[in-house]
C-alpha cells in the first residue's frame, strides 16, 4: 500500500459504499464508467439537489452549517464532497481540551467539525454508509489536522439522524477498502461477483448481466451448438 497518493491517483470517495455493496457494481461505475438511473438513484439525486448548495452556509445556535464541502485524503487516496459539515464552537480555552478543535478561515474561535451525510433510504445492515461517512471524516482530519470522533447519517425515509462513531474498526475497514479499490482500479479490472438478492435493487443490473457470471465459458459452446444443429 502506498503511503501517500498523488492527485492523479485519487478515487471518488462515494465509491466506498458501492464497493461494499458489490465490488462489481463499483467496477462498472468507476472502471467501465457505466451508470444507469433507477427509481432509487433518482430519489437520491433529488434529495442531494436539495442538500447541495455550496454557497449556502448558515449558522444555527452558533453552529456553522457548511454544505457541499470538498475534501480529499492523500493517505487514503480518496476525494469527494461532504453533504454537510457542522462546525460546533468549542468552549473557551480552560474548559476545552483543544486538541480536536480547529480554526476556520475568517471565523473567530475554535470549532469541532462533524460530517453529516444524507441518504434517501433507511439504515442498512451493512456498514457501507458508515464507511463512507468515516472516509469523509478521515479526509477532514487530514485537511484540518484534527481528530473527529463522530458524525451523523440522516435518512430520508426515517427523517432521523443516526450517530456514527468513528471507531478504530471502522477506520481500518475504510483503509482496507480504499487500498483494495486502488489495486483493482490500477489493473483496470472489472471483477466477477456471485449474483445475489441485492442484484434486484441494483440499477446496473442490465449492464452487469449477473446471469453472465454463471456462464463464464459458455459462449463458445453456445456458438458451436448452434452451428452443429443447423
Amino acid at each position: 500500500m502506498k503511503l501517500e497518493y498523488t492527485p492523479d491517483d485519487l478515487l471518488p470517495l462515494s465509491g466506498i459504499q458501492h464497493f461494499l455493496f458489490c465490488r462489481r457494481q463499483w467496477a462498472l461505475i468507476y472502471v467501465e464508467m457505466q451508470w444507469k438511473e433507477n427509481v432509487l438513484t433518482a430519489e437520491g439525486r433529488i434529495l442531494h439537489q436539495r442538500v447541495d448548495d455550496p454557497f449556502f452556509t448558515e449558522t444555527r445556535n452558533g453552529v456553522i452549517i457548511a454544505r457541499s464541502v470538498p475534501v480529499a485524503s492523500y493517505r487514503l487516496g480518496l476525494s469527494g464532497v461532504c453533504d454537510v459539515v457542522e462546525f460546533t464552537p468549542s468552549p473557551p480555552a480552560p474548559l476545552s481540551q483543544g486538541e480536536e478543535d480547529v480554526k476556520l478561515p475568517n471565523r473567530a474561535g475554535l470549532y469541532l467539525p462533524t460530517p453529516v451525510e444524507y441518504k434517501r433510504g433507511k439504515p442498512k445492515r451493512e456498514p457501507m454508509d458508515e464507511a463512507q461517512l468515516c472516509a469523509q471524516a478521515m479526509c477532514l482530519e487530514e485537511m484540518l489536522s484534527t481528530h473527529i470522533p463522530l458524525g451523523y447519517l440522516y435518512y430520508g425515509q426515517t427523517h432521523h439522524r443516526e450517530k456514527v462513531e468513528f471507531t478504530s474498526e471502522l477506520r481500518a475497514l475504510v483503509m482496507e477498502m480504499s487500498a483494495e479499490m486502488h489495486q483493482y482500479f490500477q489493473r483496470g479490472h472489472t471483477l466477477r461477483v456471485k449474483p445475489s438478492k441485492a442484484c434486484r435493487s441494483c440499477s446496473l443490473e442490465e449492464v452487469c448481466l449477473p446471469v453472465l457470471q454463471k456462464k463464464v465459458i459458455m459462449a463458445s459452446k453456445y456458438i458451436r451448438q448452434q452451428v452443429e444443429s443447423a
Binding site: V31, M33, E37, V211, L212, M218, A219, I223, V227
Partner: protein
C-alpha cells in the same frame, strides 16, 4: 432487464423540439404543441428540419436518450452525443483487437454465423408457413447452401476468407429473396440489392428499415461504451459506422428483411406510397413511412427468449443486449462473442 421505453419519431418537417422541465415539447406552429415526459423516451428520431433546442440536447445526452436527425428521406444527418461514454480501457481493447486479425476474426465470424443462420431461418420460415406458395426447390437449395457455408465459417483464418464466404452466401440469399414476396408481385419484386438510391419499391423499403436499424445499432454500441466506427468485419472508413454494420449483419434478416416481407405480404404497404423520381430512384411517402415505423415499433415490443441469456426480453432490446455481450467479451467476461441466433 432493461426497460424498453418509447422511441419518439418526429415525421413532420415543420416541428421544433424543446425542453421544459423534464418534458420534451413538440411545437408545430405557434399554437399547437405536445408535451411528453422524457423519462418514458429512449430515443428521439427526427425527420424534421427545424431541429431541437440545446437544452433538450443536453437533457438527452445526460439521460442516455438518443437524439438523431435524419433527412426526410431517411438519410442520416447528425446525432447528438455528449462526452465520450464508457471505459477507455474497453475502447483501447476494441482498437487493439480490431488491429489484430487473429483476434478479430473469431468476432467477425460470430457476426457472420448470426447472419447466415438468421437468413436461413427467414427462408426456412417461408418454407414452413407457405410451402404451397413458394418455389420450394430454389428456397431449399439456398437454405442448404447457407447451411454449408455456416459450417465452414468457424475454420476461417482471415477476414478476407470471411468476406468471400459472406459474399457468396449473401448472393444465394438475395437470389431467392424474390420468392419470399408472395403478394403484390408486380409492384414489389426483388432482383438485386441496390441503394443510393434504391431503384425499386422493395429496395426502398429495405433501405429505410436498414437506416432505422443502423441508428439503433450505433446507439446501442455507444451506450455500452464501444466505438461504433471501429469494426472487426467491415474495414474502417471515415464516416462509416463499421462496428454498427458488423452488428447489423446478424440483425438485418430478423429486424428488417422479415418485416419488409410481412409489410408487403400483408398489404400494409402498397405501390401508392412509392414514387419513382426522374432518375429512377424511389421515394417513400410520409404515410408509408409512418406505417413502416409503426410496424417497426410494434415489432420491437414483441417478446422473445434471448437464445443465449435465456431471458425474456422485448425484441427491441436485442441490439443493446448484443452490444453489451460484445463489450463483455472484450472485457474478458465471456470467452467468445455469442451472436443472436434467431429461433
Amino acid at each position: 432487464m432493461k426497460h424498453l421505453a418509447n422511441v419518439l419519431y418526429i415525421t413532420t418537417p415543420e416541428t421544433y423540439l424543446s425542453l421544459d422541465g423534464e418534458n420534451v415539447v413538440i411545437q408545430k406552429d405557434e399554437h399547437t404543441s405536445t408535451r411528453l415526459p422524457l423519462h418514458n423516451i429512449e430515443n428521439i428520431v427526427c425527420f424534421n428540419w427545424q431541429g431541437a433546442s440545446p437544452a433538450l440536447m443536453g437533457a438527452c445526452v445526460e439521460q442516455n436518450i438518443g437524439l438523431t436527425f435524419l433527412a426526410p428521406s431517411g438519410r442520416f444527418l447528425a446525432r447528438v452525443t455528449g462526452q465520450v461514454k464508457g471505459n477507455v480501457l474497453l475502447r483501447r481493447k476494441q482498437f487493439q483487437v480490431a488491429e489484430n486479425e487473429a483476434q478479430s476474426v473469431p468476432i467477425a465470424a460470430s457476426f457472420l454465423l448470426g447472419k447466415l443462420s438468421n437468413c436461413r431461418k427467414v427462408i426456412e420460415r417461408a418454407l414452413r408457413d407457405h410451402a404451397m406458395l413458394v418455389n420450394v426447390e430454389a428456397l431449399s437449395s439456398a437454405s442448404a447452401f447457407l447451411k454449408e457455408t455456416l459450417k465452414v465459417i468457424p475454420s476461417c483464418q482471415s477476414t478476407a476468407d470471411l468476406m468471400a464466404f459472406e459474399g457468396s452466401a449473401a448472393k444465394a440469399y438475395f437470389n431467392v429473396f424474390d420468392h419470399l414476396i408472395l403478394q403484390q408481385k408486380n409492384e414489389f419484386y426483388f432482383k438485386e440489392r441496390n441503394r443510393r438510391p434504391p431503384l425499386d419499391n422493395m429496395n426502398a423499403l429495405l433501405s429505410f428499415l436498414y437506416a432505422l436499424l443502423t441508428n439503433e445499432c450505433v446507439s446501442a454500441l455507444e451506450t455500452v461504451g464501444l466505438d461504433p466506427f471501429v469494426g472487426f468485419l467491415h474495414t474502417n472508413r471515415p464516416g462509416r459506422p463499421s462496428l454498427a454494420l458488423d452488428l447489423m449483419e446478424e440483425l438485418r434478416p430478423v429486424f428488417a428483411d422479415r418485416l419488409a416481407l410481412s409489410l408487403v405480404n400483408r398489404h400494409q404497404v402498397t405501390e401508392k406510397g412509392f414514387t419513382p423520381k426522374e432518375s429512377g430512384g424511389i421515394l417513400m411517402d410520409d404515410e408509408t413511412r409512418k406505417t413502416v415505423i409503426t410496424a417497426w415499433q410494434e415489432r420491437k415490443k414483441e417478446e422473445i427468449i434471448h437464445p443465449f441469456l435465456k431471458e425474456k426480453i422485448p425484441f427491441g432490446l436485442i441490439p443493446h443486449i448484443q452490444a453489451l455481450l460484445l463489450a463483455r467479451h472484450l472485457r474478458g467476461d465471456l470467452d467468445a462473442y455469442p451472436p443472436f441466433f434467431w429461433g
